[in-house]
Amino acid sequence: MSASNLHGLVAYYADVDSLLAAVRRVREAGYQRFDAHSPFPVHGIDPVMGIRPTVLPWLVLGAGLTGCAGALLMQWWTNGHDYAFLISGKPLFGLPAAIPVTFELIILLSAFMTFFGMLALNTLPLLSNPLLRTAGFGRVTADRFAISIEAADACFESHATRELLAGTGALSVEACESDESSAVVPKWIKQLTMIGAAIALIPPALIAMERYGTRTTPRIHVITDMDFQSKAKAQSASLLFEDGRAMRRPVEGTLAVGEWIEDEYRATGKVAGQLGTGFPYEIDRAVMERGRQRFDIYCGVCHGLDGLGRGPIAVRAESLEESAWVPPTNLHDERLLTVPEGHLFEVITNGVRNMPAYAAQLSVDDRWAVVAYLRALQRSRNASIEDVPTDQQRNFK
């Protein structure tokens, strides 16, 4: 075996005292690349070997500060800025509520740095180490003490170093050979790894096929997430009830909260069951404006803004020649000029022929406002000069 294969020399000792004495001798002899090995930490060996305090605490401090800043930033940004939502009246970012998570992250990051920093500084994991293949070294983790000197040390000289170690009261001195062959990963491990990797690709491939392929049947639904529930959906049929509807109708005469109106005429447009005339409340300019606005939104699309029954929907329906289309009524029709206001209100509320009910879209008072505006619209087509204020009458002459 050539000398280049020699990794170093290991000397074994029986107890702490002889180890400490030997370390002192080796260091005095000028060696740099040597180490003492023991089954437990030997107190007081650091100054003897000249080990300087580790940098680890500073790394951990850095990690802790990072954790602190990161946690505060994360909580401020996520809850206070990016996705701000108010909950139980707490400030979006309140320091007292941010402290627990901040504290935990300080500790967690520091602990990670402690553990992984210790490993990294110790160059662990290091599974292939010539020392571990040295015959006598196995007892160092149980009940022996040892000093190892690397052949790479400037002072190392195979024979002299062996002499020095033997002279320190060592039980024995052993050569530590570096074995190049074992650094090569065995073939069977490589093969196994490749086969394992190939097998590991199968599940993702299957998932990808399932998700992105074309299928004629419904896809596999792994996580149903309440997508399929045994419940009746709105507007669907149900065999459970006599009328065949899944939805139940409210009890006859049900009113929503706040919709109860004392005045019968105002609420229904009828007085004692008969359609009434006039308005249930005073009509002023604001009501008229409201009526115009509602009319333009809800009525104008069919009846036209002018009420002549030529709204955009009517025009379009005619152009399509829809056979089932019933043209909207011309609101200036003779008949409508004379019907009681209660009738107009009732039609808006419940609909007539093809016209749907607007009770859901227009509140009771809005419906009266629309009726009022409609009356004004009709009047505009049948007005006489007396209807114009006297000071403006001359404009029409």
Partner: protein, 482 residues
């Protein structure tokens, strides 16, 4: 053939001087271990357990029972995930039923390990070295059991990733002002830190097992696990610093974890939950139950694995004293809570406490008070706290009591809160009971595996408290170990 102390005693224990480890004599420190121990004997005694070729039959029986329990638990969890949380007894008004009780119970047990490893280390308590590995392992396994309950309690477990701030296409973030989210961070940080602490402590001992391993499988497994540790002084230097730092970090962490768990309750306005003493009171209770669990497991383990000279009666006695002390702290909190409930003058708060002691759940309250406050009083007497049977009985009862404490807090306050029309009496379902019982199966399965394959006692640390470990020992060979 591996020779172990159990099969062939190498040393004459008879020759050792008879020392009373329980001595109260202040003029001398009784030794931490009995018998003639040296580096070799400790290595043999501890490694021998993991190296036994034939696994004892008793181990198989215990393992089969534990695995059965664990299987029952996973079956119940599968049933739960398939059917939804409705299979539990949780319902209005008690929306937090057994799962939260079990979570707090297990997390509490998981506190003793880190306390022994970290806080007692900072307090220079040399006796901890015999039991810390054992207690740390117990911590990890208890935290595993604890983590299951809140995870399945969220209902749709496959959505659990929403607990963490992971960027998602809905641009939503978790609510960091919620104590439940603090819990996620606290328990995760605790589980990870305890795991690192436990594993780091084990690296030198795994190296010992590696160097003694005979079979190829063991060599490779222990070799990878010990990461190439050579026990060099430079490694030890950083290792010890890291150990001290982890101990310093774990100490406030232990305090914070159960404090955060207590915040789950205490930040609310529910009578019986909203009280300022909750954080330290929960921490004391956690240590209380954790130590009780360590003693419960340690008594049979030291008997069975022949570790009576390393884990002596002294160790058990000290743990019993700690149980008594923390039990008194818990009793103090009960008393102060009751007093302030009256003194505060809030009728709802007063009602909550009268309801605890005299309402429909009075049986649970008095079980708790008896087991947690009265039973540990036996430990005032030295005869009783050094009797293994009494110890075992008290410690089991303490854990029963601590489960009931969480039950009392969680269920009673919810079952009767501000709205009397929704008051109800909580009843668990069979799924509740089997899941909880099965969680012990998981705990013991992990524990038995640990006992069988890993170093149960921190050999390297125990060696440091032997007198031979100190320089100049040859000059004072007559002194006993402290």
């Amino acid at each position: 053939m591996v020779i172990t102390a159990a099969t062939e005693p190498k040393r004459a224990h008879v020759a050792a001087p008879v020392v009373d480890v329980l001595s109260d004599d202040p003029t001398q420190r009784p030794p931490l271990m009995t018998g003639e121990n040296d580096f070799t004997s400790i290595t043999d005694d501890v490694c021998g357990i993991a190296e036994r070729e034939a696994t004892p039959r008793a181990w198989y029986i215990a393992f089969a029972a534990s695995v059965t329990g664990m299987t029952v638990m996973f079956a119940m969890l599968g049933y739960l995930i398939f059917n939804g949380v409705g299979v539990w007894g949780n319902n209005q008004p008690v929306a937090w039923g057994w799962p939260i009780v079990n979570f707090v119970f297990w997390v509490g047990i998981g506190h003793a390990g880190t306390l022994i490893s970290a806080i007692l280390f900072l307090f220079r308590q040399g006796w901890r070295t015999s039991i810390n590995r054992f207690a740390e392992a117990m911590t990890i396994f208890a935290v595993c059991c604890a983590g299951i309950f809140p995870a399945v309690h969220i209902g749709r477990v496959w959505m659990a990733y929403y607990l963490f701030p992971i960027p998602n296409q809905m641009e939503m973030w978790p609510n960091f002002r919620s104590p439940l989210l603090w819990d996620v961070f606290a328990v995760s940080a605790y589980a990870l830190t305890s795991l690192m602490f436990w594993y780091m402590g084990m690296i030198p001992d795994l190296a010992t097992l590696r160097d003694r391993a005979k079979g190829k499988v063991r060599q490779i497994a222990y070799g990878i696990a010990s990461m190439g540790w050579t026990g060099s002084a430079r490694q030890w230097h950083r290792y010890e610093k890291a150990y001290l730092l982890l101990a310093g970090l774990a100490t406030p962490l232990v305090l914070s974890v159960h404090s955060v768990v207590s915040f789950d309750f205490a930040v609310s306005q529910v009578p019986g939950w909203h009280t300022t003493i909750f954080p330290p009171y929960f921490v004391a209770g956690a240590i209380f139950s954790g130590f009780a669990m360590v003693v419960t497991l340690m008594i049979p383990a030291r008997q069975f694995f022949g570790l009576k000279h390393l884990v002596t009666m002294k160790h058990l006695e000290i743990m019993c004293k700690i149980i008594l002390a923390t039990g008194m702290m818990v009793g103090y909190a009960y008393a102060i809570e009751f007093f302030i409930a009256w003194y505060g003058g809030n009728p709802y708060e007063r009602f909550a406490f009268i309801n605890r002691a005299m309402g429909p759940y009075a049986w649970a309250y008095w079980t708790m008070a008896t087991c947690n406050v009265l039973v540990p009083q036996l430990f005032w007497f030295k005869k009783l706290r050094t009797n293994l049977w009494v110890m075992m009985g008290v410690c089991i009862l303490v854990n029963v009591g601590m489960w009931f404490e969480r039950f009392v807090i969680t269920v009673i306050s919810l079952s009767r809160d501000f709205l009397p029309s929704s008051w109800d009496y909580f009843k668990p379902t069979a799924v509740d009971v089997l899941t909880f019982a099965g969680s012990f199966g998981l705990f013991f399965t992990l524990f038995l595996l640990f006992c069988r394959y890993l170093p149960m006692v921190a050999m390297a640390e125990v060696k440091t408290v032997l007198p031979q470990a100190h320089a100049g020992h040859g000059l004072h060979a007559e002194e006993p170990a402290r």
